[in-house]
């Protein structure tokens, strides 16, 4: 079936299989491999992308369901070669190790700050509890959230 979707600010008309997931569309059809799959059941958060500004597990969303929507992936962050403030904050706090959860974690933080530009640590923990980091880099993620929130534009779009 045909899907019209904006992905990382590009308007696309795509042919997708009815059973194809959003992560397959991103990774296999569009080559956007910054989004990765960890569990396949929407629990670990590794595949988090923004749909209409809200974080979703792209392994659970059907490609057909993003018709008419706006999708942002890790590749869509930053402008003119500059990193997004959330990416900068992750670098500053060394808020990653193996990096497999990082793209999803950063997209979840983007969603958090868009909804709540000045989250408390407890609010951040609650919001991000669906993004598992098995390397255990959680304190640094919270530090990055605080830094990104304090940056001039609040890190949100």
């Amino acid at each position: 079936m045909k899907v019209g979707v904006q992905i990382n600010e590009r308007e696309l008309e795509l042919e997708v299989a009815t059973n194809s997931t959003l992560i397959d569309l991103l990774r296999e059809d569009l080559g956007l491999r910054g989004t990765v799959e960890g569990c396949g059941v929407g629990v670990c958060g590794s595949c988090t992308v923004l749909v209409d500004g809200r974080p979703v597990s792209s392994c659970l969303v059907l490609a057909a369901d993003v018709d008419g929507r706006v999708v942002t992936t890790i590749e869509g962050l930053g402008r003119n070669g500059a990193l997004d403030p959330v990416q900068e904050a992750f670098l500053e706090h060394q808020a990653f190790q193996c990096g497999y959860c990082t793209a999803g974690m950063i997209m979840a933080v983007k969603g958090l700050l868009a909804e709540n530009p000045r989250p408390s640590a407890a609010e951040a923990k609650d919001y991000l509890s669906g993004n598992i980091c098995r390397c255990g880099t959680y304190e640094e993620v919270l530090g990055a959230v605080a830094t990104a929130a304090a940056s001039s534009d609040g890190g949100g779009d």
Binding site: L32, R33, G34, T35, V36, E37, G38, C39, G40, V41, V43, C44, S46, T73, I74, E75, L77, G78, L83, Q87, F90, L91, Q94, F96, Q97, C98, G99, Y100, C101, T102, A103, I106, A124, K125, D126, L128, S129, G130, N131, I132, R134, C135, G136, T137, Y138, E139, E140, V141, L142
Partner: protein, 769 residues
């Protein structure tokens, strides 16, 4: 220079925050097929027939069964070669590969699996390691498999029981009976640990292809490129230079990707297909590929009234699942460390590595040690309670000290253990009143400490290349699994050559190019590869000094190196940059200098006595926890936790702290809720829907990571290693805090679930609750 001891930014950061980082799962090759694996639905069965005719008849489908491998001895394993690529005549756990299919898409491969008919005859199963060791147990491997050449064999016959005991280890000192006779109190308990999941978010993945020379090319998410190359060469009858193993960044491993896992299967089906084949495991398959060893630990300890431990006997049954994998080595390590970091005159320590019908247990952060630490550190607090000695003080009285001889015969030099223990006690406010709990809750504190060794003997090679512009490459086969090796190794080279860290690039493994490294395991990369890299860089430094000596017309002994230049001591104006030295040397601003080095640790334990040199360096750690228990539900929650590790020298303190934090969280999950559950041989929670891992919500409200620095003798700049230190003491510290909260009611089986807490309280009516 100050490259050492500085939390320089990670080399891989810009790739990882932008999603540009490449993992094995991202690999695409022209003409590549996708593989799926047909797995056993039975925990133990004879395979009577495999009929793949219908599947193979489907367009574009290639099928692999044992019939394709009759000309190979394809069973592999680093200790015992007991694990066939696909089942030959028997399956031994639910998930054991029986056949594989490759097709144009994963969906087409999956669909073709339905067309393979397998006839099974179910066999009796055994799931408990101690039951499996008994002489009447159903046997998984009726014919003993040969030992792998790399493995120093242990005479398993001494430890049987049944043939399911595939390895054993024993060491003793003193006179156990006399020791117990001299004790005022004897404590005898059994502790249990279930299998747990590694939780590597990047599943196991590999891509294999064969070229027209008959060479095998593999891209894999392995922690062991050099050993996987050896194993593949062995299976397929190739020389090492006919196998190439490339490892991109690895998205989490924690031991699950040590040594060959899926690579032999992918190589075998690619050979048949004549095209590149990729296999990416599903989460359920990752559960079927790796786990931490379940373990039953019987521990008996004799103590004098003054708290002196005089005798200890430990018998630990390690459940290695259906195949040995690293079980013989992990159980050996747990065996000789089962007495703990204590001076105990009379000891008898025995471990058994036992097959059961579970998924294979493999290396896991801590490598067999957390299981015995859970036992001895939990029992330590029972001893303290009975003798009315403060648990911290009881440990102080028994701790090993500088120059002590360990049970293996190793002499322990400069251990930072007492400092680590005191540091967590202070950070955890040990000795001050415990905060008052909310109504219906109780709060307790617990402390624990541990000792761990590193894989010995082993060796690592490093090749440092100085480019004509003064920039540097390190060629190494150590794997960036997230621990920051590409950063820490750049730091030791930068320090040795007195150049900025940013001028050093560290390679990812490519066995056609990068030299041998034992594996990225055992907290050994900074210690071993770091030392090899430091020595290799020192050789470059020597070459630069020699060249500069003639170019500057000065004696080498009058030269020094600083900020990328060689200069004459006392007259800084007589100086040449590295680039200038190379340009003058080659007569051109192009070329390179090489420095190679191998760092080798010697030792090993005698198979008969269990003695020798167990480890080239030792890791010491401690933890103190404050836990709140809900007395109605039994649910425990960690409020505060302090951890410390003797890292020798922190090359990059921020990364050391991250190792502590990660170890702490994995241990916290294992302490409170993680368990791979089997019901009648069937795994029942092989999905993240059912298997929980610590999230941000589980992170303690307060966390301390303390780095103790007692330099090692051989590590670069005194570094020891830090990757696994803290995982061992955390679970018993939490368990001790729970017991303290409950007035001594103790849970002796992990995880400390609400049900077990309530049951422990019920069995101890005098407890506060």
């Amino acid at each position: 220079m100050t490259a050492i001891g500085t939390s320089v930014a990670r080399a891989d950061g810009p790739l990882k925050v932008t999603g540009q980082v490449q993992y094995t799962v991202d690999t695409q090759l022209p003409g590549m097929l996708h593989a799926k694996v047909l797995r056993s639905p039975y925990p133990h069965a004879r395979v009577l027939a495999v009929d793949a005719t219908a599947a193979a008849a489907r367009p574009g489908v290639v099928v692999l069964t044992a019939a394709d491998l009759t000309n190979l001895d394809h069973a592999f394993g680093v200790a015992l070669r007991d694990q066939p690529i696909v089942a030959i005549d028997r399956v031994r756990f639910v998930g054991d590969p029986v056949a594989a299919v490759a097709a144009d898409t994963p969906e087409a491969a999956e669909a073709a699996l339905e067309f393979i008919d397998v006839e099974y005859e179910p066999l009796e199963t055994v799931m408990d390691p101690e039951a499996a060791a008994a002489d009447d147990a159903p046997v998984l491997h009726p014919v003993e498999r040969p030992r792998a050449p790399m493995f120093v064999g242990w005479p398993a016959e001494r430890f049987r029981g049944s043939l399911n005991v595939c390895s054993g280890y024993h060491v003793e000192q003193g006179d156990l009976d006399a020791g117990f006779a001299s004790a005022d109190h004897v404590f005898e308990d059994t502790y249990r640990v279930p299998p747990i999941h590694h939780g590597n978010l990047e599943p196991h993945a590999a891509v294999a292809s064969w070229d027209h020379r008959g060479h095998l090319n593999v891209i894999s998410s392995t922690q062991s490129p050099s050993i996987v190359r050896l194993q593949l060469a062995e299976i397929f009858g190739l020389t090492e230079n006919q196998v190439r193993v490339v490892v991109p960044y690895v998205g989490g491993a924690y031991g699950s990707k040590v040594y060959a896992k899926i690579e032999p299967l992918v190589a075998a089906i690619a050979r048949k297909a004549g095209r590149p084949v990729r296999l990416v495991l599903t989460r359920e398959e990752v559960f079927a590929t790796a786990a931490r060893h379940a373990c039953t630990v019987h521990i008996r300890t004799g103590v004098r009234n003054d708290g002196t431990i005089v005798a200890r006997e430990v018998r630990a049954f390690y459940d290695t699942g259906a195949y040995a994998d690293t079980g013989p080595r992990a159980s050996k390590k747990g065996g000789y460390l089962a007495g703990g970091p204590y001076r105990i005159e009379h000891q008898s320590l025995t471990s058994y590595c036992v097959y059961t019908n579970k998924a294979p247990a493999v290396a896991y952060r801590g490598f067999g040690v957390p299981q015995v630490v859970w036992a001895y550190e939990s029992q330590m607090d029972d001893i303290a309670a009975r003798l009315a000695i403060d648990p911290l003080e009881l440990r102080r009285r028994n701790l090993i000290r500088d120059g002590d001889t360990f049970v293996t015969g190793d002499v322990l030099r400069n251990p930072g253990l007492d400092e680590a223990l005191e540091a967590v006690a202070e950070a955890g406010d040990w000795g001050s009143p415990v905060p008052e709990a909310r109504p219906g809750f109780a709060i307790g504190r617990g402390v624990a400490c541990a000792i761990k060794s590193t894989s010995t003997p082993s060796n690592s090679a490093a090749s440092v290349r100085l480019n004509a512009d003064g920039s540097v490459h390190l060629l190494t086969s150590s794997v960036e699994i997230g621990q920051g090796s590409t950063t820490a190794l750049a730091q030791v080279i930068a320090e040795t050559l007195s150049i900025p860290v940013s001028r050093v690039t560290v390679s990812l493994p490519d066995t056609d190019v990068t030299p041998f490294d034992q594996s990225t395991i055992s907290s050994r990369t900074t210690f071993s590869v770091g030392r090899a890299a430091t020595d290799a860089a020192a050789k470059i430094r020597q070459q630069l000094m020699s060249l500069a000596a003639s170019q500057l017309e000065a004696a080498v002994t009058d030269l020094d190196v600083d900020e990328g230049s060689v200069f004459v001591r006392g007259s800084r104006d007589r100086s040449l940059t590295f680039a200038e030295i190379i340009r003058r040397h080659f007569g051109s601003p192009a070329g390179s200098l090489f420095g190679d080095s191998v760092f080798q640790t010697r030792g090993g334990l005698d198979p008969l006595t269990g003695k020798g040199k167990a480890s080239a360096t030792w890791f010491y750690s401690a933890a103190a926890a404050e836990v709140e228990v809900d007395l109605e539900t039994g649910k425990a929650r960690v409020l505060r936790i302090a951890t410390s590790a003797d890292v020798g020298k922190a090359i990059n303190p921020a990364q050391c702290h991250l190792q502590n934090e990660g170890s702490m969280l994995t241990a916290l999950g294992s302490a409170l809720f993680e368990e791979v559950v089997y019901d009648a041989g069937q795994p029942t929670n092989s999905s993240f829907l059912d298997y929980g891992m610590p999230s941000l919500e589980d992170h303690p409200l307060e966390f301390h990571s303390i780095l103790v620095e007692h330099p090692s003798e051989d590590g670069p700049f005194g570094a020891r290693g830090v990757g696994e230190s803290v995982i061992s003491p955390v679970a018993p510290a939490i368990g001790n805090a729970v017991a303290a909260a409950l007035g001594g009611a103790r849970v002796r089986e992990l995880p400390i679930s609400p049900e077990r807490v309530l049951a422990a309280v019920d069995q101890q009516p005098e407890a506060r609750a």
